[in-house]
Symmetry: C2
DNA sequence: CTCACCAGAACGGCAACGCGA
DNA sequence: ATCGCGTTGCCGTTCTGGTGA
């Protein structure tokens, strides 16, 4: 009597209110019930502490009111920021949100779509750094219940929110060039991931545009973590003992930029005096570091919001809906780490 | 034919394999089936792409294989760290984890227990900063499926993992005293929350033990965010223009400590030369800041792991189980921010 | 008497249907 | 015809009892 408790069902409520189960259900869901019956049922519900059984309801309704956000790494604040807006939108619409981190691939994303197939999840917002062929195939199957954030093949008939991060990199690099920097290094994200390659391309293009030669020794690979940014500085130091150290470092994300700044400081290199640093994502901490970090915002919060709205709209809308792709523009946020302390002679072309 | 798709049920599989639904179920769940039948069923399953319906299963089994972790703020890395270990343990045991952030009270924790009552969740690991009476009542009701992290009334018959954070504060303050610091300020967490009050008590006790007078003007209130730490420094500056600035700041968590260090640097005060700083939580970033941050680890990861193990153990164990409370010990991690550059004359008592 | 399997009854809620007023 | 509400069947799975070999 104490531990197992008696699960109170809709029938108990019906009995107590002196009506049938159908009527109770109607009171709970639809409005088509006269006031006094409604009241009798309501009091019975609260007296018994009745709570509808979720499993039974979703079995019948074919709906769980639950969605998931799949991100590569909860440890990266940019995804946390994104999660906050997703959470907010979901809560507003009465959806419960499951936050799932794949820990950069340790958890298999394809397994996650299983939750969709099992009908445990109504839909999913998916951020994937490295969409392989089998994942793409699964996404295609689950298309009407998925919204992607990031870059995926154009022919994938799925809702998506995109940002032109290559353009963002060009903005950032152009800003460094305008500040008189010429030896601009780049710390890349995890090679093989779509964002890392896209940003690498933006870097090369920006240099090309400005007529500044691309130097391979100024490219260092990282993995989007702060530690890899820290180590990247040593790689730049060690690469060519005879070479001149870069006067600027563009980082594929803010976490690496923070690591870079920390190591530069340890080595006695002044930021931005000796070296300018620019990151990407514009995480909250960018405004709190020492010095504050110039960063290219990819509007994570807005992307999360848009993706969630699109997903829920599609779920609400019964029939088929043509896949939509929304674009978001990156924005450069200039702070202390890239202030032009040093302006070299000789203007840009 | 294209969009609605046909949901393939266990009956379709049964028909194709030439057996009954019950046999298919047994193949999927239990092992009590001869090999050739088993094989026929398995091929039918994969040919049809059958995936069991989660709602139907949990309706029958009264189990969802899903738990939730409720934390006050995903923006605080210490909870993310905790979430990672919870996620890991849950995944190991075949449970799906929902991560829910109450955004410091914006989301009502009591609403969350609803998921438990609806049977959408098998159990819940709950971190609450401010357990009010009605939440406590609800926890009491849901006790067999909840594990708490943090401080709750002793008579609450619920599994819990605790850490003596007051003792942690004493360790930290003692360390500062040993380094010769005497004017030790404290930046508090959100007043009214259990951890903030506990840590405030630890601070007073530590001073008392050492025979150092407690000075109210050295206490500043924060709210566990980096920004509040930043502003706290100004409050210390402005409080008594004539007074000597503190030679150490103990912060109720690392986020505030990072904010404090940032502001001190802006104001030209050297850390640890002029002011030592000690934080609490030992988040990953403590090892990456400039200077690296001395911090009292409250073993968030271990607490998350323990709580999840206790919860799942209780869920697996059918019958009643006496509530268990596990204690974890805090540990001081000394880094650069508290190195004793300045040793005042006059030894401690 | 064991083994392999099947039919049917739950599980709890929802909604179509239809009956009486 | 409308309104209010009880009845019934079904959602998909698991489990129980039972049958035949």
């Amino acid at each position: 009597m104490s531990v197992p408790a008696k699960p109170v069902t809709i029938l108990d409520v019906a009995k107590r209110a002196g009506v049938s189960a159908g009527t109770v259900s109607r009171v709970l869901n639809r409005a088509n019930v006269p006031l006094d019956t409604r009241r009798r049922v309501s009091t019975a519900v609260s007296e018994l502490g009745y709570v509808p059984n979720h499993a039974a309801r979703s079995l019948k309704r074919r709906t769980t009111e639950q969605i998931a956000l799949v991100i590569p790494d909860v440890g990266n604040p940019v995804y946390v920021q994104m999660a906050k807006s997703v959470q907010r939108v979901a809560a507003e619409r009465g959806y419960r949100l499951s936050l799932i981190s794949t820990e950069n691939g340790v958890v298999d994303e394809r397994q996650l779509l299983r939750g969709l197939h099992e009908r445990q999840l109504d839909g999913m917002v998916l951020v994937s750094l490295r969409p392989g062929p089998s994942l793409l195939r699964q996404i295609r199957e689950a298309a009407p219940r998925v919204c992607l954030i990031g870059s995926f093949p154009d022919d994938l008939p799925v809702d998506a929110v995109r940002v032109d991060s290559a353009h963002g990199v060009r903005q950032g690099v152009a800003h460094l060039l305008a500040g008189g920097r010429r030896r601009i290094a780049m710390v890349h994200g995890t090679r093989g991931t779509v964002p890392a390659e896209t940003r690498a391309r933006g870097y090369r293009d920006a240099l090309l545009e400005a007529g500044v030669p691309f130097r391979p020794e100024l490219s260092v690979d990282g993995d989007f973590t702060m530690g890899s940014g820290y180590r990247a500085v040593d790689a730049l130091e060690g690469a060519r003992p005879d070479a001149v150290f870069p006067d600027a470092v563009f980082c594929a994300n803010d976490m690496m930029a923070l690591g870079v700044m920390r190591r530069l400081r340890e080595l006695g290199r002044d930021v931005p005096g000796d070296v300018a640093v620019v990151g990407m994502d514009d995480i909250d901490m960018a405004g709190m570091s020492a010095p504050t970090l110039t960063s290219v915002s990819l509007r994570a919060e807005e992307r999360g919001r848009l993706a969630t709205e699109m997903l829920l709209e599609r779920l609400a809308h019964g029939g088929p809906l043509a896949p939509r792709v929304v674009h978001v523009l990156p924005a450069l946020v200039v702070r202390e780490s890239s202030t032009a302390h040093v302006v070299l002679a000789g203007g840009p072309s």
